[in-house]
Symmetry: C2
Subunit: 226 residues, 2 copies
């Protein structure tokens, strides 16, 4: 039982810091979106597509979470207003971003000059589901080559998602993935989730996703708190 | 520092149980292989291909690790001599198999009737690298759609692997993946690792992988310990 208590304490401490992060973001009218997926599902590609299409309309900052390397931060550097890289390799919990890692990153950003903060989490379908960061919305990307059974096998991350993205739609003729089966599983776990089908490589479906982002930035800021 | 100490204790406790598991496997001349990858890279497909090709020559048992569901165990049930399902969802560390989860599974198996134990770990490129299970060999699968940068971004799991498999070779014309770049990264991290290129869907390259398995079962059992 002792180990369970320790983990409970870590989760509670995380919630406290996440609430503090959210209050700070609200104060500065920054909408924050936590983007999660398995490794290689297309988080960085989605960031790049979003930045290219929305950078003329919004001031967008990015926090890049990776176990090691700065390859993703380098890819988005030219398109974002600001980028903060977090490497989790030598941190006690290296398998997910945690609220305590986001807190100093927020101090590094000029929050008054930012409308939208996109947070790319570490590539992992399990651990990030347990740690909120202070974000306003949670997005999970599944890609076709992973198979349509992922919601059944990794349910928690899908249950808590506001949006589920099906990426790499260009590979549909080449892989065994049944869109209806996947969508049924999502509807069973989380009927409120919005599902977008898109392809970051070809740009198919990105417009609808960007409209959703604009809606969040416009509507979801709790202006009564400012 | 306290949190780091707790995690250190968990890792040390895991090592002790893993050594006990390995002694038990050696006593019964069972060769155990821990198969790890990101979600959807093809662990279950590799198991199925291996079972179909080797079940007439070896007695093969399977341990299936999943956060939730029994879909993978159901897929291999007909081909393996025995299957044990471990669901980690309600366990304190749900992001990886741990040696303490394998120990009771070994008690459930008739080890004297088994030559080869294939352990399918939870789909995750981070956490399983920290927890040995008592296995003789560690295998990591990367699949082409994930991209060729995974060794740089998730180095630890590749550093400790005996074998790295590149799966879904049939998708090479449809994705951006440079085999040479990937192999260079592996050679830099872990020059001893054997690399197999294969495709579980078409069967391409599976023969070479199965020869490697037969070699492990034949040569790697420490018969002096029996």
């Amino acid at each position: 039982m002792r180990k369970i208590e320790v983990i409970q304490n870590i989760l509670e401490a995380n919630e406290t810091i996440a609430s503090r992060n959210k209050r700070l973001l609200d104060k500065h009218r920054v909408c924050a979106i936590n983007i999660m997926s398995a490794p290689g599902a297309g988080k960085t590609s989605l960031l790049l597509q979003t930045l290219v299409r929305l950078k003329s309309r919004l001031n967008i900052a990015v926090i890049e979470g990776d176990v090691a390397s700065t390859v993703d931060a380098e890819k988005v550097q030219g398109e974002a207003k600001a980028v903060v890289q977090i490497n989790t390799r030598n941190m006690p919990e290296s398998c997910s971003l945690m609220a305590a890692m986001i807190e100093p990153a927020l101090e590094d950003l000029a929050l008054d000059d930012i409308d939208l903060l996109l947070i790319e989490n570490v590539g992992n379908l399990i651990c990030p589901s347990e740690f909120t960061l202070g974000e306003h919305k949670r997005v999970v990307i599944s890609s076709l080559p992973e198979g349509d059974d992922k919601p059944i096998k990794y349910p928690l991350i899908f249950i808590d998602a506001d949006v589920v993205i099906i990426n790499k739609m260009d590979l549909l003729p080449h892989v065994d993935f049944d869109i209806a089966t996947f969508c049924q599983s999502i509807a069973g776990l989380n009927p409120e989730a919005e599902v977008f089908q898109l392809c970051c490589k070809t740009g198919e479906g990105i417009g609808k996703w960007c409209s959703w982002i604009l809606e969040q930035v416009g509507n979801n800021l709790p202006r009564n708190l400012v």
